[in-house]
């Protein structure tokens, strides 16, 4: 098996990893200990493997790792700073927006990508941004409320 070197920045830290040319980003990240990147459907349907690459949410299961030379990757592990949860993480906790938790990293990262570009989105924009992450436990009301709370948008009265 041929191997190659990959230089990427993951959660702010420069990394140099040995990969194979056909490695997918999902497999490389989990091999390197980033277990917040979840293995779900492996065909870009469920969004559990979502990470940010240069600020955009992508399905790491569909992305060749070798493509990422020189890129910046953000996983859920990189969100909290100095032991302080990111506001989205805190809001998901406050709103009870996680149940089994499997979709939560992808949901939060997809929401972060949205808020970084559009700090005050409408509810429809939030729903579209997280539509590529499937939740099979709680549904979407609580995650949507959590994201809107961070965006400073008044919650809809249920």
């Amino acid at each position: 098996m041929k191997s190659m070197e990959l230089r990427v920045k993951v959660n702010g830290q420069a990394r140099k990893w040995t990969i194979t040319p056909g490695d997918l980003l999902l497999d490389v990240l989990r091999r390197e200990g980033f277990f917040g990147v979840k293995r779900g459907c492996e065909k870009g349907e469920c969004g559990a493997c979502t990470v940010l690459v240069n600020g955009r949410a992508v399905n790491s299961c569909l992305m060749f790792a070798a493509k990422l030379e020189g890129c910046e990757v953000l996983t859920i592990e990189g969100l909290a700073e100095n032991g302080q949860l990111h506001p989205l993480q805190a809001a998901f906790l406050d709103h009870g927006a996680a149940q089994c938790g499997f979709c939560t990293p992808g949901m939060i990262l997809a929401a972060k990508a949205l808020l970084d570009r559009n700090p005050h989105p409408s509810e429809d924009e939030v729903r579209e941004a997280i539509a590529g992450v499937l939740c099979r436990c709680t549904g979407y009301r609580k995650p949507v409320d959590a994201v809107l709370a961070v965006a400073g948008v008044p919650e809809e009265v249920a």
Binding site: M4, G22, L24, A66, A110
Partner: protein
């Protein structure tokens, strides 16, 4: 899944990408976003040629036409001012329906065209717009109508070429209206049927020309040419639209599959055509 892949190339130019493709004699695949190629999981691929660093990421307006580099992503298309302002924004709208935000961040216009799915959402409006492709091979670059490309996609010559750009020609017409309509099971799903339409009206509100393209109802995206011709010269009103709906429903012969039976696709081809023409009328300032 891709353990057998021996090399991942990131050529900095199209010329280098072509050289690699030719030298690998059918064992190499071009990859951009990877959203189709990875799912396909071809066990015969030995080399991957990533063309997202080959200077193919651009949107250029020139002499009324717009040229879009093959590595331009769906996200870039839907966000582009040029594309949003072009022909009623139909390409931006189609790009915004290509799967989730995550898919749109990776998937490219070149991939959507070259993968050749009859349900590819961008291809339907591109066929409606008489788009052309710029192809690169060992002999250089050449232009080919998108419709011709779709008809000859599997040939050996085309397997040795790379789609490097999509050219959307300028449109003549005083009062134009445009529409893209998609029907999927959910908002993120692949199209069961999609329709793109464009209409130009003269001063009296008669149809100067009409264009209707249908996706996911034949082996490739098709134009409803006879229906387009039957609209020409008629006053654009509800009865013309009803005739077009009926004619399209009659003319298509879709397959049935796990997603939808043939009869449903056929009926929906007509319904989406009606909705598309109604939107065209509204955009062209035609009261119906």
């Amino acid at each position: 899944m891709f353990e057998q892949v021996e090399a991942f190339h990131r050529p900095a130019s199209v010329r280098e990408a072509v050289r690699l493709l030719v030298s690998r004699k059918g064992k190499a695949r071009i990859v951009a976003g990877g959203t189709d190629l990875v799912v396909e999981g071809d066990p015969n691929v030995r080399a991957l040629i990533d063309i997202t660093h080959s200077g193919l990421n651009y949107i250029r307006a020139r002499n009324g036409a717009v040229e879009i580099g093959a590595a331009t992503t769906m996200a870039e298309l839907r966000e582009s001012r040029v594309i949003r302002a072009l022909v009623g924004g139909v390409l931006a709208r189609a790009a915004a329906t290509c799967g989730s935000v995550q898919i749109q961040a990776a998937a490219t216009i070149g991939g959507n065209v070259a993968h050749g799915s009859p349900a590819a959402d961008l291809v339907t409006p591109l066929v409606m717009l008489d788009a052309a492709l710029v192809l690169a091979d060992a002999k250089g670059r050449r232009k080919m109508a998108l419709a011709d490309y779709l008809a000859s996609r599997g040939t050996k010559a085309l397997r040795q070429s790379i789609v490097v750009a999509v050219v959307v020609p300028g449109v003549k017409g005083r009062r134009c209206g445009w529409s893209f309509q998609k029907l999927g099971r959910t908002a993120l799903d692949i199209s069961l049927v999609n329709v793109a339409a464009g209409v130009a009206l003269d001063r009296a509100g008669r149809v100067e020309w009409a264009r209707i393209a249908l996706g996911s109802v034949a082996p490739t995206v098709i134009r409803a040419g006879s229906v387009e011709a039957s609209l020409r010269g008629r006053k654009f009103d509800r009865s013309v639209i009803a005739d077009a709906e009926a004619a399209v429903t009659q003319s298509v012969h879709p397959i049935g599959d796990v997603r939808a039976p043939a009869e449903y696709r056929r009926a929906m081809s007509g319904v989406l055509t009606r909705r598309a023409l109604e939107e065209c009328a509204a955009q062209a300032g035609c009261g119906l």
